[in-house]
């Protein structure tokens, strides 16, 4: 067992636009909380602007967006741009849901580090986040 990190990872889980499918994001939220992470939910029908503000205000480390409608090609890059413009480009961006493979490069270019499509095992998401968090904490504690 690796040593428990000094502070738990904080993640904002978000839903954008009119897409109100919440089963996937609920399962992920519960699984991440079980794994000791601090999970904040944006609520439904949010704009990229509102989610960017919430991410900054809540000082989260990660923003994860769930998308089960075609809005992802427009909304997700906009969210990434807003975060960069507001000096919050260091937050890890993740997306999940129904995202066709042909749209993945577009989202990766926009700044999304990883796309977890429907059916992803929550243990895979947790392992990914734990690895990233451990790396970040190490980088932070290493004197420059």
């Amino acid at each position: 067992m690796p040593e428990a990190p000094a502070r738990p990872l904080r993640i904002l889980l978000a839903k954008l636009g009119m897409d109100t499918h919440t089963v996937g994001i609920t399962v992920v939220a519960h699984a991440l909380r079980q794994a000791g992470m601090e999970v904040i939910f944006s609520g439904l029908k949010q704009t990229p602007e509102a989610v960017a503000s919430a991410a900054i205000q809540e000082d989260v480390d990660v923003v994860g967006v769930s998308s089960l409608s075609a809005g992802h090609t427009r909304n997700l890059p906009r969210l990434a741009r807003l975060l960069r413009e507001r000096g919050a480009g260091d937050k890890l961006l993740l997306a999940g849901g129904v995202i066709p493979p042909e749209d993945v490069p577009l989202l990766q270019e926009a700044g999304f580090a990883r796309i977890f499509t429907m059916g992803t095992d929550t243990r895979e998401i947790i392992a990914y986040l734990e690895r990233w968090w451990a790396g970040k904490l190490t980088a932070e504690s290493t004197p420059a």
Binding site: T20, V23, A29, V39, F41, G43, V98
Partner: protein, 576 residues
């Protein structure tokens, strides 16, 4: 894990005592030694959704242990408590009505497709709106960009509905509309459009789902805080019963709780508690229960656990009858007989190896039939998870119900599973647990309070997590997903890409309307809606006046937003 409730066992008759002691002997002398040599496949065996333990064998002793009483618990078909069916002759005189939902309409294509379906002999249609409409926005609202006309028809003003309802009304006898949060606006637009077409409302049935409380519980297409949502729904129920008594003002779509992973007990209890909230609110408007209760419709899904599904449907009939009689004092048979449509659930279907879904649909449709089917059964299509259904899928879907009805023999005698030790035990356990849960919700203050405190949402959130864990950790085997997976199978998902031009046209049309109409009249009409919202008078009449001067859908929803505020639930109130 939930557990069936313990029972005070009814005294064992001499025969049951014999059976119980023989069963014990069988267990120790015959089964146990065998199991020692041949360990069981699972430990424990559990039902799919409730995760209740399943015993290896059920006998009359189990019925006695759960307090089963034939006359009290079953009775006879067409008689209280209707466990064996609301029809006196089951499906021997008349089969259930077989229907099929085939994709969505979008934009103006809706009328064209609707005309085609009517030419094929259909008499009823479902009008599905896009998400901007069901969430109460006009098509030019910045929040809805890219969503206009996608999941259904865009509706901004009466003009849109006049175009959509340009149909041969001598053929169209039934229209179902799903538009819950903005219900008075939607209802007003349909009434105004029917008036303009000269349709005699007595010769036509409009069925509005009007299901706002389930939106707060799990679907998410809400606008106003729950207390106002309930008031709005009640206004619509009252308006329809008083003005169009042959129409259908309210449905409880339990089939939306099921995909949100409500287990059968939660699904039954939340649905009934929600029905009771509408009933209580409508009774205060001066109706009596014998008039009101027959207006309620239920739409119920079954999942793959055959017996959970069958027992749930039997329990639905009995619990409705008991609640109406015991809690509300209803006496007319029409008030005690649940009006129900059943359907195999889409969430049991897989994207992987889609032909396997035909097998799943056959099992679930058979469960629906054995559970009593209701007046109506609708079956989804095996390739539905992919994209718009192909013609073959539509044909197979239509044939499926006929195969169940005419080839399997399950419809030839009434309630053929009655008396099964397992079926009756599970039916009774589901009924008892659901009644206990209904009592708990009643003590909380009813469904409205359960929503406002997040009780329903959190219960479903936990269930979603636990059920997913069952799958991830292999306790539930799902062919194609975590069992018999085809290596390298490409999952095809088609996402419908919005036609940008269609959205632009819809927005241009809306803006032209705003420039052309009598804006002073619109402003006065919107003020009347605000006044009704504030004063608590019925919202439908002022909405009707407003849509006739072409106030838009979004403007009317906004007028009510100004009075009611908006619902912005957090983690606690969404269960996320």
């Amino acid at each position: 894990m939930s557990r069936p409730r313990d029972h005070i066992a009814t005294p064992l008759t001499a025969a049951n005592e014999d059976i119980a002691s023989e069963a014990q002997r069988w267990e120790s002398e015959t089964r146990a030694p065998y199991v020692r040599k041949h360990p069981e496949r699972r430990d424990p065996f559990l039902t799919q959704a409730l995760r209740w333990p399943i015993r290896p064998l059920y006998t009359p002793a189990d019925l006695a242990a759960c307090g089963f009483d034939y006359l009290k618990d079953l009775g006879f078909p067409g008689q209280y408590p209707y466990t064996r069916g609301t029809q006196p002759n089951g499906h021997r005189s008349k089969l259930w009505t077989m229907t099929q939902v085939t994709g969505f309409g979008k934009g103006e294509d809706w009328a064209r497709r609707a005309r085609y379906m009517l030419e094929q002999g259909l008499q009823g249609l479902i009008l599905e709106h896009d998400l901007p409409t069901t969430n109460g926005y006009d098509s030019d609202d910045p929040l809805v960009e890219g969503e206009v006309g996608r999941a259904g028809m865009a509706l901004d003003s009466l003009e849109d509905l006049e175009r959509a309802l340009d149909l041969p009304f001598e053929k169209l006898k039934y229209l179902m509309s799903v538009c819950n949060a903005p219900q008075p606006v939607n209802l007003a637009m349909i009434i105004a459009a029917l008036e303009k077409k000269g349709v005699d409302p007595r010769n036509f049935v409009l069925h509005i789902v009007n299901g706002i409380l389930i939106e707060y519980t799990c679907v998410g297409r809400y606008i106003y805080p729950p207390v106002h949502g309930l008031r709005i729904a009640t206004d619509c129920i009252e308006y329809i019963i008083r003005n169009h008594p042959n129409w259908a003002p309210i449905s409880i779509i339990s089939a939306q709780l099921q995909p949100a992973k409500a287990n059968p007990v939660q699904e039954l209890a939340f649905s009934m508690a929600i029905a009771m909230a509408y009933i209580d609110a409508t009774l205060l408007r001066g109706f009596d229960i014998d008039t009101l209760a027959p207006y309620f419709h239920f739409v119920v899904n079954v999942d793959m656990d055959f017996f959970e599904g069958i027992c749930k449907l039997r329990a639905y009939r009995k619990i409705w009858a008991r609640l109406m009689k015991e809690r509300y004092g209803a006496s007319r048979p029409e008030a005690l007989k649940i009006c129900m449509m059943t359907s195999p659930t889409t969430i049991a279907l897989t994207l992987q190896q889609p032909l396997n879904n035909i097998g799943r649909l056959a099992i679930m449709a058979t469960a629906c039939a054995l559970g009593g089917a209701g007046e109506n059964m609708t079956t989804p299509l095996h390739d539905e998870a992919h994209a718009l259904p192909a013609e073959d899928a539509i044909r197979v879907g239509a044939a499926l119900q006929h195969i169940v009805a005419h080839e399997s023999g399950v419809a030839e005698t009434i309630d053929p599973l009655a008396g099964s030790y397992y079926v009756e035990t599970l039916t009774k356990q589901i009924e008892d647990a659901a009644m206990a849960e209904i009592d708990k919700i009643t003590r909380m203050g009813g469904a409205l309070r359960a929503i406002e405190s997040g009780y329903f949402q959190q219960a479903l959130g936990r269930e979603q997590y636990e059920r997913n864990k069952d799958l991830e950790e292999g306790r539930r085997k799902w062919v194609g997903v975590n069992h018999l997976v085809l290596p390298g199978e490409q999952r095809q998902i088609e996402i419908f890409r919005a036609d940008q031009r269609m959205e632009e046209e819809q927005v241009a049309r809306l803006r032209a309307l705003r420039a052309r109409r009598d804006n002073a009249a619109v402003a006065r009409a919107l003020e009347a809606v605000r006044a009704a919202a504030r004063e608590g008078t019925n919202l439908v009449p002022p909405c009707l006046a407003a849509v006739k001067v072409y106030a838009t859908h979004g403007e009317l929803c906004n007028a009510m937003r100004e009075v009611f505020g908006v619902h912005t639930p957090d983690s606690q109130l969404t269960g996320v």
